[in-house]
Amino acid sequence: MTPFRSVFLAILAWVGFTASAALADDLSGTLKKIKDTGTITIGNRESSVPFSYLDKDGTPVGYSIDLCKHIVDEVKATLGLPDLKVNYMTVSPAARIPLLANGTIDLECSTTDRTLTRMGQVAFSSPTFVIGGRLLVKTDSGIKDWIDLRNHVVGVAQGTSTEQLVKALVATPPYAGTRVLTLKDHAAGLLALETGRVDAYATDDIVLYGLRSTSRMKDQLVVTGQPLSINTFGIVLRRDDPDFLLVVDRALSKLYHSPEIEALYHKWFDPLDVPMSEANKYMYKIGAISP
């Protein structure tokens, strides 16, 4: 080996070493944490059917959980960690932000509305589902759309975006005589509708379909009305972590490009008789960002 050659090889080795070191250094935030610990922790819900809930064996399953599994696969490929360990942690809505902030969970996979105010605290993935505020009514109530609520009582759940919209809507003159009853949660809303405390229950259509499927009088209930609002769900991650966000959105984009997303939709939403809305079809097209 000539001296020239050995110097050349030494330089090559040095370049290669620093390049790989630089690559490792480039990792920051959540990706660095995942690489260092070899684990990723997903926050799931206990009973957000069919998005994120525990099945009979206590395993987290659902539409959002399946999306997160695709994200985990993308993280594995990006970091070259085929043996990445995936932990699940059931979180309540009140606990999710502190647990995300202190690093206990890395992703929250459930039914969280993407809003600008919330984006001050967290980052959201591309939209994962499109929802619209609609009405659940009894089939014999004669209520077909929002305007039929005149002189009736409509229930809303506290803290939902539908609550504010419905309250603003019924404050307008055509809705004279309409009353709004604010309920603690969706279960209380269904109970109020079943027991006649309210004539209609308003919230996101996907929740209404879910409530109807669990109701003891589901044959007498129907989801109706034009969507009052359009909102999107997203996967929640820590703010100011653009590299991780890119991996998450890339995973969703790849999934939306493939026919697998349709199969996934039917797997989770057919049992609830939820047809894929036009808005959802377009959302998948928009979320399938060009590579």
Partner: protein
């Protein structure tokens, strides 16, 4: 921690208004509940010291039922179960025509629950006044009602001001259970701010400070009452609050 602090959220609209309205609801709920508790509790506490064993049994049953069932469960029973048990017209009124159904039911529930606790305090006060007071009052020619009205109850209240004050502070904290049936009191409004903004630490800190402030104001206000109510020669007069 990757938490983005934003204390300013507490001053932004609509969140500031939510906190103020939550505070007002908490105070209204507690004060009305306390009025119910004081009236009903005095009655039940008196029954518990009555000569008639039937009246004593009625008082004891009330205290047992309301003190032994968790407050949260009582809230659910009042709001969801009671209207279904009553005749249809009354049930329909409670569900549909009554103004502020959640607030009204929560107030009634909180009042009846606290009444059981006040009853025990009043009973203890009457008993600690001693059998001599009752006998002496009756010996002066008072009827039983007059003995309670002019001798036993006034003494009982003066002796039990400190525990009554602490019960009064407790009702403010217990009022937060009303969020379970959808009353927008302070804790519930803090929940709502968390849900809208994800700035939970700020919202719950504000609620904590407001609860502490209520307690502080009540304690300060109760001091002159405690001082004036002291009964000379009784053990309770030694207390230093």
């Amino acid at each position: 921690m990757h938490y983005h602090w934003h204390w300013g959220v507490l001053l932004e609209e609509p969140y500031a208004s939510w906190l103020v309205s939550g505070l007002c609801t908490t105070i209204a709920l507690s004060l009305i509940g306390w009025t119910i508790a004081l009236i009903l509790g005095t009655l039940i506490g008196t029954l518990r010291t009555a000569q008639s064993s039937l009246l004593r049994a009625i008082g004891a049953l009330y205290v047992r039922v309301f003190r032994n069932v968790p407050l949260l469960l009582q809230m659910f029973l009042w709001f969801f179960v009671l209207p279904e048990l009553l005749p249809d017209t009354i049930g329909h009124f409670l569900k549909r025509d009554m103004a502020y159904p959640e607030f009204t039911m929560a107030t009634a529930c909180l009042g009846c629950y606290t009444a059981a606790r006040v009853a025990e305090i009043v009973r203890a006060g009457i008993l600690s006044a001693g059998p001599g007071q009752r006998v002496a009052a009756l010996a002066t020619g008072m009827s039983t009602l007059q003995a309670y009205r002019y001798v036993l109850l006034p003494l009982a209240f003066r002796l039990t001001v400190p525990p009554l004050v602490s019960e009064f502070l407790t009702i403010f904290k217990n009022s937060s259970v009303a969020l379970a049936i959808g009353v927008f009191e302070l804790t519930n409004q803090a929940n709502q701010i968390e849900n809208y903004t994800f700035q939970g630490f700020e919202a719950y800190t504000a609620a904590t400070v407001l609860y502490a402030a209520i307690s502080w104001v009540c304690l300060r206000a109760s001091r002159p009452i405690s001082r004036r109510a002291r009964v000379g020669g009784m053990i309770a007069s030694d207390q230093t609050t």
